[in-house]
Symmetry: C3
Subunit: 247 residues, 3 copies
């Protein structure tokens, strides 16, 4: 059993954060909210999203698991106007999800969850550097890096107490360094890792400019990227594997 | 003889409504206003537009007939800024239409009307169901249907007193039902017909979100779609032939 | 030595005016400001830009010459938000230009000036007709002309005291005539020349709608197009060679 009413904006944000990595996903419909975990086909990027029951206007579920075409579901949610709510109801007899928005009923065929790539185990890494940064600043660095390279280094300069974004192209370089006063928070620690810009761009695209984004970094370790949705009733964690540095 | 001044916005709306179906058309320049009737090459969609002399700031005509390249004429009218007027004058000696807007003079070569597809006779059908709906609601249904299918059913549920839009895709369905309170008017009667979404999308594109759109429907009959322009001094009627239902 | 701080908007305008013609250029870093002169590969259009030291928030230079990839530099400047300033500093030891905007450091590899097309000598023509026109009016004529043709005539009707833009297509024509009252200034004189619309469109794209644009025209002579930037502390001159009229 699953029946819920949620603001279109919140639902769009949840779907968008997962769509950054995959086109299909499993959604857990638990008593305390919905959860999605997914990993991209190359096993480079993972996402873990939870939207608590409190984020919904109405929420009833008892622990089901459904598979959905995210692109399709996202298109439907995208038809909502700002301020609209979306009503979701699972019809277990037909295996379809009924979606209502502003009088419009959409019947979405579900996908057999077993046919969808297995959900990843997201490792709990104890990484040395913690940074909290505004979404717009992360975005600025990612966009600039994209002008010169297809990979990007994220790191912390322990002495200077700065978080930095570096990209080295064939001829040109980009460097963004943010000190304590330009960050929301910084727990310095040696950290420097190289990442695929393609993945980071997609993840960054799902992050609001106003969001507080928590990064955890190490030396050639994955980065975790966390931010909240729906006034704190939802949270998204991305994990992105490092690229091997070829110095 | 033909000489007229009209608001750019009104003229753009008239041209746009015809451009939804054809690229060239004949325009009747009658004493009481201009009229255009056209049918698409596949004989599926027809349009009948009349813009009364009262819709113009100045209007003088004595019954001519011209052929125009609608795409070209629409591009010219599209150069006008909001609030501009367009001056039109036919030069019968050269067979050209002079178009002035904001100091710009455009000389448009006309097309021999005999070389343009014949104007359709638009049948006067006495259809059982009459619906008056806001442009934005029709648009919402058409856009949603387009996500799942290339055809769309329009119908009236006589008992429930609702107008509905249905689209059935290979896996997903869309359904929009609007009751009396969500419609501007409804004269219920058994009606259900299937239409090509491609045509309906083009017609819908010419209809303002704020427009009152009058639909007439029957059982596997064409739909007529009527709306007004220029504060009621202009009106557009589309007629769209039904698709054969393959149940 | 070169070190400067300039408003992002001004810098973008300077780069954009040159980018209308070439992708690489030499920049003279003189004591009194920067200068760029360039000619397109076909030797049809030239540009001469000067931005005075007064246009900068800070300016120090002693006469260097650098070669830059304009497209790249323009992309970087384009990352600035409205109101941002851009800091430029030449590192002569590495031959790189350091560009800072809002904390972001961009290191741009320079191009050997000798590998860039030679700067043109811009002839000082004493042309009979002088017109000063608003950017938006020039733009309107260019856009309309583009609908019918790939060349455009600019001229002055000495008797009628009008500046005109003419374009003759295979079937349709465009004519824009502006009298004294619609121009900012006019010194009439016989003038009529035909130009490639492709070039004029690119030049026009770099001119603000609000700009006062000074044109000088003759009989089958090049046109010079001048406008100012940065509150009069910068100026741009385009010169466009006429096309041979094939009457």
């Amino acid at each position: 059993m699953f029946k819920a009413i949620v603001s279109a904006e919140t639902f769009q944000e949840v779907l968008g954060s997962v769509e950054a990595l995959v086109e299909e996903c499993k959604i857990h419909l638990d008593e305390d909210g919905i959860s999605i975990r997914a990993v991209d086909p190359a096993n480079v990027g993972m996402v873990d999203v939870h939207l608590a029951a409190e984020a919904f206007d109405m929420y009833e579920a008892d622990g089901g698991l459904i598979g959905v075409n995210l692109v399709r579901l996202s298109d439907i949610a995208g038809m909502a106007s700002s301020g609209d709510v979306i009503e979701l109801e699972l019809d277990e007899s037909t295996g379809k999800l009924h979606i209502q928005l502003d009088g419009l009923e959409y019947t979405l065929a579900l996908i057999d969850p077993d046919s969808i790539r297995q959900e990843p185990d997201i490792p709990d890494l104890d990484l040395p550097a913690h940074i909290v940064i505004e979404g717009r600043d992360l975005s600025r660095g990612v966009t600039a890096a994209d002008m010169v390279s297809d990979h990007i280094a994220l790191g912390v300069d322990d002495e200077a107490e700065t978080f930095y974004i570096d990209a080295e192209g064939d001829t040109d370089d980009v460097h963004l360094a943010l000190g304590r006063d330009q960050l929301i928070d910084l727990r310095a620690g040696d950290a420097h890792s190289l990442f695929s810009l393609e993945y980071l761009k997609d993840m960054n695209g799902a992050i609001d400019a106003d969001a507080e984004v928590a990064l955890e970094l190490g030396e050639e370790y994955p980065v975790t990227i966390r931010f909240q949705l729906a006034n704190g009733h939802g949270d998204v964690t991305y994990m992105l594997a490092p690229r091997i540095q070829n110095n």
